[in-house]
């Protein structure tokens, strides 16, 4: 998804795009390296910014990714929706941390530690 056309997308399209990018991030972590990951990270943050621009209802749609089968999707959805759905996001992050599925477990732990003032 290019930044220039995000404003034309529906919320569903943005959420689906967010998930696709996170799945690609997961692949990049293992097989493509950090240069590819950085590009995908920027795309993900652009979608997050567009959802924030549209308001709370649009951002709430992110919570539907909390049960996505891919761990990177669940992680990024929970991190980026933590401020609007703190309890359910915390549950997602705690499950990921407990899984010991690294590196996602480490990033989940980082977010929880920051929220709890331990980092």
């Amino acid at each position: 998804m290019k930044r220039t056309i995000l404003t034309d997308k529906t919320v569903d399209e943005l959420i689906n795009g967010f998930a696709e990018i996170c799945v690609a991030q997961d692949h990049a972590i293992w097989f493509e390296g950090n240069t590819k990951y950085k590009s995908l990270f920027k795309q993900m943050m652009a979608i997050d910014a567009e959802l924030k621009r549209r308001g709370l209802d649009a951002r709430q749609a992110m919570t539907r990714l909390f049960t996505h089968p891919n761990i990177q999707v669940r992680l990024k959805a929970a991190i980026n929706a933590f401020d609007i759905a703190p309890e359910s996001a915390r549950t997602v992050l705690e499950d990921i941390r407990r899984s010991k599925h690294y590196p996602q477990a480490a990033d989940a732990g980082l977010r929880l530690d920051v929220e709890d003032g331990k980092f």
Binding site: Y102, A105, D107
Partner: protein, 134 residues
């Protein structure tokens, strides 16, 4: 007969793979240890499946003006599972949203920080990856 030979060859390949990677897999299953234990392990001879890891990253410390004596001081080196070492190195290079990195990678965030902050993040990374006891 040909099928049986193929199966035997496959079993030999699996055995060789397990023999080569067994130390890595075994080491990766280690639970978290104390800082003292990790530091003391690094003083001994090298062990398959483990890498010696600088708590304050070596290259970043050099760029920040730290001396080789500080960088290679036993206080800065821990022996950790090789697979965790690779994962932590990757994590240092990936952008991370939210505090404290705010979209930067830990490595970029630490670029203008002093030794104390680099060490703090280095120790936290070891905890986050289940290497160092909380």
């Amino acid at each position: 007969m040909a099928r049986a030979l193929n199966e035997i060859q496959t079993l030999i390949k699996i055995y060789e793979w397990l023999r080569d990677y067994e130390p890595l897999i075994r080491a990766a299953m280690d639970g978290p240890k104390s800082l003292k234990d990790l530091q003391q392990a690094a003083l001994g001879p090298s062990v398959p499946g483990y890498h010696d890891h600088h708590i304050v990253e070596q290259k970043a410390a050099e760029n920040g003006g730290a001396s080789q004596a500080e960088i290679n001081d036993p206080n800065n080196i821990v022996r950790i599972p090789e697979l965790k070492h690779r994962l932590i190195n990757g994590w240092y290079g990936r952008p991370n949203e939210g505090e404290p990195f705010n979209g930067m990678s830990p490595r970029d965030y630490l670029r203008d920080k002093g030794w104390a902050e680099r060490r703090r993040v280095g120790l936290e990374a070891l905890k986050l990856f289940g290497v160092l006891e909380p």
